[in-house]
Amino acid sequence: MTPPLLEVDGLSTHFKTADGAVKAVDDNSLTLHEGEVLGIVGESGSGKSTLLRSVMGIVEEPGEIVAGSIEYRGRDLTAMSDAELRELRGNDISFIFQEPTAHLNPAYTVGDQITDVLQAHTDLDQGDRWERVYELLGRLGIPSPEERAESYPHEFSGGMAQRVCIAMALACEPELVLADEPTSALDVTIQAQIIDLLTELQSDLDLSMLWVTHDMGVVAETCDSMGVMYAGNIVEYGSVDAVFDDPKHPYTEALLRTVPSHLDTAPRFDTIEGSPPDLQDLPSGCVFQERCPDVMEACRNERPPYYEVGDEGAWVSKCYLHEGKPTRPASPSAPEPSAPLADSQTDGGQPTGEGDR
């Protein structure tokens, strides 16, 4: 049997600070199959961006992957050398970020920047590289590609700059695209253009995508499956249709109620009282216990395992409400307290939280 495209198992990414570890990502597992679009959704500080950056291999100091594995086609990314990672990132895995202009070099034309990527990762000669640039820009809906390739990043609007970044991400025909809030900085009508474009490209090129967002509407429109993150934990994981239709975890249920929709006519917003826990001082039991309407004794003692709430483990929820259902063997429950980490001191380490918006 071929392994899934991406398999993350028991991943923990902590930020070491003088006051102890900030557990931005704490024992998370997920599986991404070929051609699948998986959304990771959560509020700011939930760890979704750190999770994505861990997979990208770009966690910033003092953050560190302290446990778990990230396998791409069966090869563990956490065990790879920098050179191997660079090779893989250019050819097989690419990134799209929230702020396109922050990831383009203002001093070079966009054509130069895309041809650089092609030069580093393909055998195309110079003429072919430029042909490929024009083809890509045209495919991304940028009018007059041959002229626009000569433009600098600041000459593009936000939506057009994101098209350029997507062109660059697709330049070497990757299999996996990791996208961090790719439409969140854009206005609604421009966001709709980019969502349409990404959805079309994903299907035409059979791309697999890991798409991080805080926007439930975007997940509903773009993703096949989803993981809901809260306080460093993916608390529920399943197909988008199933999770939206019948959320199993109390946090998912609460979050879905809270999202303001322009079709909702109730006089007031639904709320989740309280605020998320301190990632430096997570409770020993369930991370959602303080705000959960269904909290029980068991929730206070030990982190719940993933219970299978759908067929064949494709839908799981980290909540004792499902006790009696099979637990997912591949994903152990709470990790051992990371004692060595809590002891280690870093000079002047600032609690960075995570690189979220």
């Binding site: 609604v188 429109e221 939206f244 929709s261 322009h262 006519t265 917003f269």
Partner: protein, 322 residues
């Protein structure tokens, strides 16, 4: 009673267009707001909704004389707004911004910031100020025991609550909120907006809300104005507009807004291109025509203006095809 009545409001900015055109005496105008009308009654919640750069913030700031408008008349409680002193106007209309970092003095405790506003506007005798501060903080869900803290001790959501308390402290008749929760997470947003709606209803305040978030606009508003390129293109009751939008831009905007429900199958209208720069806009015809799926040659030359839709004086649309 009508609190604010805005008629033909415009705010243009002169744009430095370079050395040569400077020599030739040409100045270009950025028409951030280009002739809009709206009014807000006592107790009414009116929302200006639109995408970034449409002029919604500039519209309220120039209506309330935080910026000098280029043209138009604005009256407040029936009196020309230009006749109000700054102090009088601040006592009547209070603003809450997106980022309270810029408006709360970092060196002053939040209790003192609220007390200062109460004293400046002579709301209660001096010996009752402390008590009033405590009441206000409680009303917005902050413990009065925390009033001695400086703003840095509070989270973004708490700062926004404090800003609301300070705005209410002067007992205004109109509250203006410009994207007050857009930096906050949905669960925090919901708590603050519910509180804001409760207080607005309880005190019978007029509210002008400015946002790009259609989900928030739906809940918070009685009436809305949809802005595009410095103009209000559709105006009326929020439910009428959200359920049966008439202007092609409103239709596209609502259809493109992602809905958090995968079982809702919608026909999205995806507009091409961007909203153009307000500098390059042609004065004649409809400013939306270049992106409009229904545009005809008449749209380029037509005389534009909000007109009742099918005779309904409460639902106005600026489109010659309606």
């Amino acid at each position: 009673m009508t609190l604010l009545d805005v008629d033909g409001l415009a705010k243009h900015f002169a744009v430095d267009s370079g050395f040569l055109s400077g020599l030739l005496g040409e100045t270009r105008q950025l028409k951030a707001v280009d002739g809009i009308d709206f009014s807000v009654e006592e107790g009414e919640a009116f929302t200006l909704v639109g995408e970034s750069g449409c002029g919604k913030s500039t519209a309220v700031l120039s209506a309330l004389r935080h910026q000098q408008p280029t043209a138009g008349t604005v009256s407040f409680k029936g009196r020309d707004i230009g006749d109000y002193t700054k102090r009088e106007l601040r006592g009547e209309a209070q603003l809450i911004y997106q980022d309270q970092q810029d408006t709360l003095n970092p060196k002053m405790s939040v209790g003192e910031a609220i007390a200062e506003a109460i004293r400046f506007h002579d709301i209660v005798p001096d010996d009752q100020v402390d008590e009033r501060v405590d009441e206000l903080l409680e009303r917005v869900g902050i413990s009065p025991a925390e009033k001695y803290q400086e703003p840095s001790a509070f989270s973004g959501g708490q700062k926004q609550r404090i800003a609301i308390a300070r705005a209410l402290a002067v007992e205004p008749s109109l509250l203006v909120a410009d994207e007050p929760v857009s930096g906050l997470d949905v669960s925090v947003q919901a708590q603050i907006l519910n509180r804001l709606m409760d207080l607005q209803e309880e005190f019978g305040l007029g509210l002008i809300y400015v946002t790009h978030n259609l989900g928030i606009a739906r809940k918070i508003s009685d009436t809305i104005g949809v802005m595009y390129l410095g103009r209000i293109v559709e105006y009326g009751d929020v439910d009428d507009i959200f359920e049966d939008p008439q202007h092609p831009y409103t239709q596209a905007l609502l259809s493109a807004n992602p809905v958090p429900d995968p079982s809702v199958d919608r026909d999205r209208i995806v507009l091409e291109g961007n909203m153009p720069d307000p500098i390059d806009v042609d004065d004649t015809g409809c400013p939306f025509a270049p992106r409009c799926p229904e545009a005809t040659s008449e749209c380029e030359t037509a005389e534009m203006g909000l007109e009742p839709f099918e005779g309904d004086e409460d639902h106005l649309v600026d489109c010659i095809h309606r």
